[in-house]
């Protein structure tokens, strides 16, 4: 059994008086996709930000790639896509990709092929030269994802990557994610789209600052005696 890529143990996080994460433990191993679901405001983004070291935990521990977070060097090995599209609007997609590639430390010689590859994955090749300010919402989302994919990171952390992306492209992106998983990468993904939650290896349902349900989709469906993850979600929320 290999070491997990992400190991969160009894993570706690408070913002002022509000306890957002009471006790969150989860692991992501190489070759595994973990889907983090939960109602809006449950703290999914907070879990991710704490794991990345952008927020400090108030208790528990967050280890990523066998290293206690926060750790700056490690960030080069993680592909992170934030919930909001943070892009330089005045620049073209290609310039955005090149800039973040450099920040991540992608070698100069590999840059062109890297950019071509990630652009192809998210179907942006024809629009690479266009300024981002002229992009549609979905195009921005795809560019954001492309930036996260740059540099072939060992671990992908994606905060709602498929919002505003049409079904055909979404399927294509999931195909790519599965390919990456099969190549041994670990992926942590949050989503509000419940049929996407069927496509992951493990689901963690975050409710009330705790992981209320955790396991393979089929296992959770059996445990809650329902047909879909959506019903698991609704049932768990009704109980809580």
């Amino acid at each position: 059994m290999t070491e997990p890529l992400i190991a969160l143990k009894h993570l706690q996080k408070r913002f002022g008086k509000q306890t957002v994460l009471a006790d969150v433990s989860l692991t992501v191993a190489g070759g595994e996709i973990l889907g983090l679901i939960g109602p809006s405001g449950a703290g999914k983004s907070t879990v991710i930000k704490t794991a990345l070291g952008m927020e400090v935990a108030d208790g528990g521990s967050a280890a990523v790639l066998n290293t206690q977070m926060p750790n700056r060097q490690l960030l080069g090995r993680i592909g992170y896509m934030a919930q909001d599209d943070a892009l330089y609007e005045a620049l073209s997609a290609e310039e955005n990709l090149r800039f973040f590639g450099r920040m991540k430390g992608v070698a100069k010689a590999d840059m062109a092929t890297e950019i071509a590859h990630v652009a192809a994955v998210v179907d942006l090749t024809p629009d690479l030269k266009k300024a981002v300010s002229g992009y549609s919402g979905g195009m921005k989302r795809r560019l954001s994802l492309a930036i996260a994919l740059l540099g072939d990171p060992e671990l992908l952390i994606l905060d709602e990557p498929t919002v505003g992306i049409d079904p055909a492209l979404r399927r294509k992106i999931w195909g790519e994610l599965h390919k990456l998983r099969d190549a041994g990468r670990g992926i942590l993904i949050t989503t509000h789209v419940m049929d996407e939650a069927e496509l992951v290896d493990d689901v963690a349902l975050l409710l009330g600052g705790k992981v209320m349900a955790y396991g393979a989709p089929s296992m959770l469906e059996a445990q809650y005696d329902v047909q879909t993850i959506e019903q698991v979600f609704l049932k768990a929320e009704g109980v809580a």
């Binding site: 990345l52 070291g53 952008m54 400090v56 926060p70 750790n71 700056r72 060097q73 490690l74 960030l75 080069g76 993680i78 992170y80 934030a82 909001d84 599209d85 943070a86 892009l87 330089y88 609007e89 005045a90 620049l91 310039e95 800039f99 973040f100 450099r102 920040m103 991540k104 430390g105 300024a131 930036i147």
Partner: protein, 383 residues
């Protein structure tokens, strides 16, 4: 290395933002132009001078000076009355031979200096004329005397030599000011400080806005999710906006010298160095203040709090007469040091090497503010 890429990105973003560029480069030029309009307008005003007992030749010489009109008054009393009534701008009273007492209304520095310069020119012009006439007259007299003497006693004639050119009659001018003193050349004094202020103002505002935008759009978070160092981000911003500030400094300084016709006693390069240093301080200051603002509007709120007071406390108004705690405020404002250094260079021709203290303090400001900025980034990422 990453800082260079960050700097390049910031610059290519800026180049596409034509409005901000215009604000940085055109706005200072426009303001300088407006100031030129206002201040040169008063430079062409003419003055009326009342003279009391002044020699006719001096008077006509003074009248010949451009924009100067001379009125002859019988008594000093009536002349002073005219001055009070604002009918004349100055009174020149020849109290005894070649001793002049000049009283200026001095409500307008340009008028005062026009009278001063005009009167000096008139005296010089007249002095040369008088000297010539006196010399000719004297030599004529001597020749006549020599001729007469030669008849009476030839030996005595030999003793009598033609006198050498007589030393110029020592002219004494006593100045009086109805208002203020001789240092009321207000505008000359504020130009160096104003120039520094414009540099400070524009760089402060725009650099602060830039980092603020990076933060509010979330790109800063994204940037901090890469292995980039906090210091590299700050350095990247300092580099890119430093280049911009350099261009802006050159424009502002050249405008001040070219448009306003400000005479620089020291070197132009020294003025630019001080201004550039000030721009870097403003840059670091703007970045620091932007971390305390949540929006661009909040950034604007720093202008009355941080930018404007610098003008008041940095030497535009003489602080000597104020309470010492007011003076102490000026010691923590970067513009004080830049303004002082600039005044030294522009008015007294001091070299950069003689301004070690001011330059040192500005560098210290820069260092401390930059360190605070790197430190302040911790709020967005802990490592």
């Amino acid at each position: 290395m990453r800082s260079i890429y960050i700097a390049r990105r910031v610059i290519s973003e800026l180049v596409r933002d034509k409005r901000t560029l215009a604000m940085m480069f055109v706005a200072p030029v426009l303001i300088m132009f407006l100031m030129k309009l206002i201040f040169t307008q008063s430079a062409t005003t003419s003055v009326t001078v009342a003279t009391v007992g002044v020699d006719g030749q001096v008077r006509s010489a003074l009248n010949d000076v451009k924009h100067v009109t001379v009125q002859k008054r019988a008594t000093n009393h009536s002349a002073q009355k005219a001055l009070k009534a604002q009918k004349v701008d100055a009174v020149i009273h020849e109290t005894s031979a070649n001793h002049y007492t000049v009283t200026y209304a001095n409500t307008d520095a340009t008028k005062t200096s026009l009278v001063k310069v005009g009167f000096n020119a008139a005296l010089t012009a007249n002095g040369i004329k008088t000297l010539k006439q006196t010399t000719t007259k004297l030599s004529q007299t001597v020749t006549q005397m020599a001729a007469t003497l030669a008849k009476v006693s030839p030996q005595a004639a030999a003793i009598l030599k033609a006198p050498q050119a007589k030393p110029a009659a020592s002219t004494k001018i006593t100045n009086h000011y109805q208002y203020g003193d001789k240092d009321t050349g207000f505008f000359d004094k504020i130009v160096p400080i104003l120039m520094g202020f414009f540099v400070f103002f524009f760089v402060f505002l725009i650099s602060g806005m830039a980092l603020l935008k990076e933060r509010t759009t979330g790109t800063l978070d994204r940037l901090l999710a890469t292995p980039v160092r906090r210091g590299e981000i700050v350095l990247g911003y300092m580099l890119s906006y430093g280049i911009l500030a350099l261009i802006q400094t050159v424009i502002i300084v050249l405008c001040t010298v070219g448009f306003m016709g400000v005479e620089i006693t020291g070197t132009l390069a020294a003025v630019m160095v001080i201004n550039f240093l000030l721009a870097l301080v403003a840059l670091a200051f703007g970045i620091l203040m932007s971390t305390l603002a949540q929006s661009e509007f909040q950034m604007m709120q720093f202008i009355p709090i941080i930018v404007i007071p610098q003008v008041f406390f940095s030497g535009i108004v003489p602080l000597d007469s104020l309470a010492s705690w007011v003076k102490d405020i000026s010691y923590v404002l970067p513009l004080t040091y830049a303004g002082n250094a600039m005044t030294q260079i522009i008015m007294y021709g001091t070299k950069l090497s003689g301004l070690g203290l001011d330059i040192g303090v500005l560098l210290l400001f820069l260092l401390v503010l930059t360190a605070l900025n790197v430190r302040g980034m911790r709020r967005y990422r802990k490592v």
